[in-house]
Symmetry: C2
């Protein structure tokens, strides 16, 4: 068999993901946040005061990964945790004022990266591209 990396979806996806992460990293560095915190912040900006388990249901990472990232976010003053009156095992996770204030800038950074990266595609290619990713992700998740 022969194998061409430039024809391999997996190879291309990995490469593209690293390029996106680097770009976003550079964009959001001035805000004092890092890429791994982004998905968590997105959820908390929509709704905070939630448990780790709640977050886990919305972000497709392992529980240990989430727990570690939350620890770093607490260390960095982005979240704080309070007792959960309903269950002593879980805590409630809240954004700090600082994190709350970062929202607009973060949205704009992400939007900028997305827009610039997909500039090379035309409108219909962009739509198709996003749709294909959604399809692939859904099919892979439900295996």
């Amino acid at each position: 068999m022969d194998f061409k990396k430039d024809d391999s979806a997996g190879y291309l996806i990995n490469h593209m993901a690293r390029l996106f992460a680097r770009e976003l990293q550079h964009q959001i560095a001035p805000l004092g946040i890092v890429v791994g915190q982004f998905p968590i912040l997105l959820e908390l900006w929509l709704k905070d005061g939630v448990t780790q388990k709640d977050l886990l249901g919305k972000i497709d990472v392992e529980q240990a990964t989430l727990a570690n990232t939350l620890n770093r976010m607490e260390r960095d003053g982005l979240i704080k945790r309070t007792k959960n009156p309903a269950d002593a095992r879980a805590q409630l996770i809240w954004l700090t004022e600082r994190a709350r204030a970062l929202r607009e800038g973060a949205y704009e950074s992400a939007q900028k990266v997305n827009t610039e990266a997909l500039q090379v595609l035309n409108e219909s290619e962009r739509t198709q591209f996003i749709n294909s990713m959604r399809l692939v992700i859904n099919s892979m998740r439900s295996d």
Copy 2:
């Protein structure tokens, strides 16, 4: 501004990349290799007896990342290094017999992951998808 993660190229790409990596990891685990070694093995299966710098020219990762992965590959008996008669700073990197023997199985594993993951797209969507990724990568790399 509002921001929908399911419409965000970056978010989708990151998610998809993790799904692919997990899948490939499971496929190649029986071979005794891990995903980060894959791009390097692909190059070395084409041509070994090369320097780290040669490899670096073919794989878009940082030099330190490559150096670390090569160390683990040496530890795992996948490569060995010999003196470079032309330059004492560099060494030549060679596949071991064990690594050489893994090629077909690895190609097949990767092919399988790609095929199954893109099953959800039809022929023309697949082609378009791969092409879009190539365009996006090329434009992001040359910034």
